[in-house]
Symmetry: C2
Subunit: 302 residues, 2 copies
């Protein structure tokens, strides 16, 4: 099998990135940042989360952000939705797409979503029905696929069972999350092989965190098996507030750089991406971990 | 093809790492550090370089280091040798093994070694003859294999021609260097495929720098093709003083962690490795870039 010719990067920084930040980024800065992201060539941006602001105060301005951004018709703007109330708010704010999340680990699901997996499946099913009735596509996250901070390794059978249930609900694509960044290429091959035997690549996305620096290695392993959709977060922002030690997502600009070097098309302008990374880094007031930003700051050339 | 069951990591931190540091690490600290490295399970340590101290003052104490360390019989202690004079000094200091370097790029060779490639080949041949006469094995570095800061991409034919010449001189193993950290997995596959068609894996090592965060991705790509020997540098130390923007080598502890997660044996004790990384980090007085050290400092658990 050849390397894929083209890859879609889905930007999750405004949601998965910012939700973990102790600093509240002003609504107008979030809007400016998302507008910058929309001009980089990215086709998919998860712009916020309509969870209860009590749980994620950093994203308490979800509706204002969704309504304040300038919509680029080439971009799909999605938002994470925890329940029907969140869906109502999101639909009022005109999201293009709905994202839902279930954890493959019972204990992580209870701590992250405060429900059993069975209850989450029921909630997600309600969201899918309601979203379908208004013509909004639903994207699913299955988290802790490669390991859970509380339960350790997750059985592949559990991953496949939940995958099937989520697709049966009408979810068009599932993003398989290495929430705590412990996946190894051997694990990734096993999971991707099992998924690719059952589903077409167009329905499968991978979501790697870079805790141990293995995110690009896991992406290359997935690419080699035919996966063509990856989540990433500008600057390497992110992490899960309920999983201790979960470092940021793979950085969008580092992934973009690698794919460029590999001759794989992404449609993304690296310079605009870097400029947007510098913008949010300045707003956060701390150095973000991407290699591309370190090269910018170090005045390196390579 | 299955993943390899076992991998050899060759530690180049004391040479490739320290040579680039503006701070002179005291001889006794170098000795203490190398002694720590020798107790981690590493079987091969490049301990210094016998180049003219005028060129690399950081390693001006090569002989004192080589003579001051406690020799662990399970470890091969090598040193980089630029010429016959350096070889004499190294042999007096009882190195186990000699390392030589040639660049695949004419311009990089001239700037790095101050010779044409033709002259370097002749020098290396002299070193090989002399080393053979006293029974010392010679390991070769071929640098800028995947790209040169001055010439850009390097033709595969040039890499193969120099590889053949180096093996003809009796060099037992060649380490193929991504000196500036620009190699992509696509390039790595092409080079490794060409090499594996011609030579057994036991003669081939890969040496990746992590400028753009791609080192582990390139290692995984090499592993998948059957490569089982990798150079690494504790803490992610390193870089080439004559190649602007050449960030550190892949960090030994991050590589060790990934291989552990993959179930690939290295024989290395990660805790001892991390403790040695903290030691040299403290002596250098600056944060080193490995992910494992960031986890230690951040108090993360994952």
């Amino acid at each position: 099998m050849d390397w894929p010719k083209q890859v879609t990067i889905k930007e999750v920084g405004p949601r998965d990135g910012l939700q973990n930040e102790p600093l509240f980024i002003e609504t107008e800065d979030k809007i400016a940042w998302i507008n910058q992201l929309a001009e980089t060539g990215l086709q998919h941006i998860e712009m916020t989360s309509f969870v209860n602001p009590k749980w994620i105060p950093a994203l308490a301005d979800a509706a204002s952000v969704a309504q304040g951004i300038k919509r680029n018709p080439a971009v799909t703007y999605s938002a994470l939705i925890p329940n029907l109330h969140g869906l109502d708010r999101a639909l009022s704010a005109c999201v293009d797409e709905v994202a839902v999340v279930i954890s493959a680990s019972e204990m992580h699901n209870r701590r992250n979503i405060n429900q059993s997996i069975a209850n989450s499946l029921s909630t997600v099913n309600d969201i899918c029905l309601q979203a379908a009735s208004v013509g909004k596509p639903v994207r699913g996250y299955l988290s802790t696929v490669f390991g859970c901070p509380y339960e350790g390794e997750i059985a592949l059978g559990q991953v496949l069972r939940l995958t099937e249930k989520m697709f049966e609900m009408g979810i068009y694509e599932i993003s398989f999350g290495d929430t705590i960044g412990t996946a190894s290429p051997v694990q990734v091959e096993a999971v991707v092989d099992a998924l690719m035997q059952r589903y077409p690549a167009e329905k499968l996305a991978m979501h790697f965190h870079n805790t141990h620096g293995m995110a690009l290695a896991n992406i290359v392993t997935s690419l080699r098996k035919g996966i063509t959709i990856f989540d990433a977060s500008l600057g390497g922002l992110g992490g899960c507030p309920y999983a201790l030690g979960a470092a940021g997502n793979v950085a969008t600009e580092d992934l973009g750089h690698m794919l460029n070097q590999m001759g794989i098309r992404t449609g993304i302008d690296q310079e605009r991406l870097l400029s947007a990374a510098c913008f949010i880094e300045e707003k956060l007031g701390r150095a973000l971990p991407s290699h591309a930003l370190q090269i910018v700051h170090g005045g390196h050339m390579a």
